[in-house]
């Protein structure tokens, strides 16, 4: 387990926003712009926390989450889902797949950083 936080979002602006805010709080960041890249980086860095956008083209956030949960080497990784879909059914699906936290877009960067901090400190 490294001190790394993985951030994945297909929208460059959001990706930059999240990484900028998290870096300011002192986190070490690896970022991915699609699901496949995110999974590859996760396997390479075994991050403590992964911030995954749900709505990515190709492999979406939920699929990445499922792959992480299926990988024993990543058992310690805490996953936070970011989504623009606000429906209860989506939230439930996220938790059922094994998400640790859920943040809806649009989000307050400070609040997101706070949630990441909680997961980071709680992670083994």
């Amino acid at each position: 387990m490294t001190e790394v936080v993985l951030v994945a979002d297909d929208d460059d602006d959001i990706l930059l926003l999240v990484t900028t805010r998290l870096k300011r709080d002192g986190f070490e960041i690896v970022s991915a712009r699609n699901g496949a890249e995110a999974l590859e980086l996760a396997r390479r860095h075994t991050p403590r926390v992964a911030v995954l956008d749900v709505g990515m083209p190709g492999m979406d956030g939920l699929e990445v989450l499922a792959a992480i949960r299926a990988d024993e080497a990543l058992a310690g990784t805490r996953v936070l889902l970011l989504t623009a879909k606000a429906q209860e059914s989506d939230v439930r699906r996220g938790f059922d797949t094994g998400a640790d936290a859920y943040v809806k877009k649009p989000f307050s960067p400070a609040e997101l950083a706070g949630r990441v901090r909680e997961l980071y400190d709680g992670a083994l």
């Binding site: 959001i14 300011r24 623009a84 879909k85 606000a86 429906q87 960067p109 400070a110």
Partner: protein, 570 residues
């Protein structure tokens, strides 16, 4: 239909009955003749006067009646002057001139009423006439022809029953087609029937008649009632084309009775003649009458079958039309459902795509405003960014509302229920709005002193309260007061009241409608979409509760929500 009451008709009938009574009281001869002539001439004058007085749309039929009766009256006078009238006499000329006139009057009335266009009515009249012709032939005409005498005698004697046939033909057509029950119609038919009855009695027993016999009463009353008919106001309706066409297959008991009697005439007459001693039985006459009647009955049957067929066809066409309309409607309905679904998808998609750029906007503004930044912003730029921040917040709210409404319309509202405390929710909502309220120096007060447990969706209930409390702050001028009251009374009750611009009673009934905005809100340009209260109403209803809006005295609004208490405490 009209009333029976008519002063002229009543006077005419009273005078006529009196004259008839006097006629039989005075001795035979000249005194009787004078009364008889006065009644006849009076009738003719009264009818002519009525035709002018009542102004029917067609005056001619009534003038024909007047002249017909005048000729009858003149003939009566000549007849009474002649001591021993020969056959034929000058009187016969006038009598025989009268019949075509009155028959023509009847036919004209029939034409004016539009009855002639109804084949069924004409066929019925034809059946009646056939039966009558047979009767005339057997009982009146045949004896005259067989009785011998000069050609002139026979011709004139036979002319009367033939004229009666003409008259009856007119009457029959009139009888089966004209408007029923108007007093003038019934009086007119009665008078013609009386005339015919008198003629028939005379015709059957021509040799035993003497002036002053009781049979005179039929002719006298015919004159009187004819004039009474003309004087009645409803005589105008007789010459009007009927406005409402009667159903084609109308079969009244009276008409059926008359037709049945006509149909039974040949066999009954045959029987009567068979029973009467030495009465001649002329088979060709019966056969001719029965053939004629059969042809008419056949025509009538064809008419009825045709009518049935056309009704059936019309019904089938109507059913086909209805089915076609149904198909169109359901196709249209499918398109509407599809359009509705597309609209919802569109709104959901747009809302989703609006959220992503909004995330960037709001996130980067927050980053820029962050106090920990190395280079702090100068106050002016900071205030600009705060405006952008507030505006994005409003935009986000609008997008959320639209998304919510779109979802509401495409399906029901899914609730994730849990046990909640309404007091706690009210306190938190008040806290969330406090910063905005303080900026306008509005006091936010929560009046609640015990937990009020309910079952509900936490997120939705916060949304509901946030809508109401935000509205209260938005619509309340600076320095006002917003109060949240939570209580229980068999139900959980939450009230949100303010000292804002409020609304009228009429508006209160409509504030929960989608996109509805009060006049005050529009006038003061208070921003809003008219969705907040619609959403509040939907959320309350989904929780099995009620929401109501009330204007407060002295300005301001009061919203009251009633929700079911959590079960174990209800």
């Amino acid at each position: 239909m009209g009333s029976w009451r008519s002063r002229p008709t009543e006077l005419c009938l009273a005078a006529g009955f009196l004259a008839t009574a006097v006629y039989f009281a005075v001795p035979r001869g000249n005194p009787q003749s004078v009364i008889y002539d006065v009644v006849g001439a009076g009738s003719a004058v009264a009818i002519a006067y009525a035709a002018v007085l009542r102004r029917p749309s067609r005056k001619l039929p009534w003038l024909l009646f007047a002249f017909g009766n005048l000729f009858f009256a003149v003939a009566d006078m000549i007849f009474s002057v002649l001591v021993d009238p020969p056959v034929p006499s000058v009187a016969d000329v006038f009598y025989l001139l009268g019949y075509p006139l009155v028959a023509a009057g009847l036919v004209l009335l029939l034409l004016a009423g539009g009855g002639v266009r109804r084949l069924g009515a004409l066929v019925d009249a034809g059946i009646l006439v056939c039966a009558f012709v047979l009767l005339q032939w057997v009982f009146v005409l045949d004896p005259i022809v067989d009785g011998g005498g000069s050609t002139a005698e026979v011709a004139v004697s036979a002319a009367y029953p033939i004229m009666d046939i003409v008259l009856l033909a007119g009457l029959a057509g009139f009888f089966v087609s004209a408007a029923w029950r108007t007093p003038a119609f019934l009086l007119l038919v009665s008078s013609v029937v009386l005339l015919l009855v008198g003629d028939e009695i005379y015709g059957i027993t021509p040799d035993s008649y003497r002036s002053g016999d009781w049979v005179d009463v039929t002719w006298l009353l015919s004159y009187v009632i004819w004039a009474a008919a003309a004087l009645h106001p409803s005589m105008r309706e007789l010459s009007e084309p009927r406005r409402r066409p009667q159903p084609r297959l109308r079969v009244s008991p009276a008409r059926l009775g008359v037709l049945l009697a006509a149909l039974l005439t040949p066999p009954v007459v045959l029987l009567v003649q068979d029973v009467r001693p030495s009465a001649p039985i002329e088979i060709p006459a019966y056969v001719a009458a029965m053939i004629a009647i059969s042809v008419f009955v056949l025509l009538r049957l064809v008419g009825i079958l045709r009518a049935l067929e056309s009704i059936r066809l019309r019904e089938r066409a109507a059913r086909a039309d209805a089915e076609q309309a149904q198909r169109l409607l359901s196709a249209q309905n499918e398109r509407l459902v599809e359009a509705d679904r597309l609209k919802d998808e569109f709104v959901a998609l747009i809302s989703h795509d609006l959220r992503t750029p909004l995330t960037s906007i709001m996130g980067y503004i927050e980053l820029s405003l962050d106090d920990e930044l190395d280079a702090p912003l100068d106050p002016e730029r900071r205030s600009y960014l705060e405006v952008v921040s507030r505006s994005s917040g409003r935009l986000l709210r609008l997008v959320d509302d639209l998304l919510f409404v779109a979802r509401l319309q495409s399906g029901r509202l899914d609730l994730t229920r849990s046990r909640l405390d309404l007091m706690e929710i009210a306190r938190q909502s008040a806290e969330e709005v406090r910063a905005r309220a303080e900026a306008k120096a509005i006091e936010v007060v929560v009046d609640a002193d015990e937990p009020v447990p309910i079952e509900g969706d936490r997120g939705r209930l916060f949304q509901l309260l946030d809508n109401l409390v935000s509205n209260a702050v938005k619509f309340t001028p600076d320095g006002g007061r917003v109060e949240l009251r939570v209580s229980r009374d068999g139900e959980a009750i939450l009230e949100v009241c303010d000292t804002g611009v409020g609304f009228t009673e009429e508006e209160a009934a409509r504030v929960f409608e989608r996109f509805y905005r009060t006049e005050a809100a529009v006038e003061r340009q208070i921003p809003g979409t008219g969705l907040g209260l619609f959403i509040a109403h939907a959320i309350t209803a989904a929780h099995g509760g009620q929401i109501s809006a009330h204007p407060r005295e002295g300005g301001g609004a009061l919203f009251r929500i009633r929700l079911p208490l959590a079960e174990s405490t209800a």
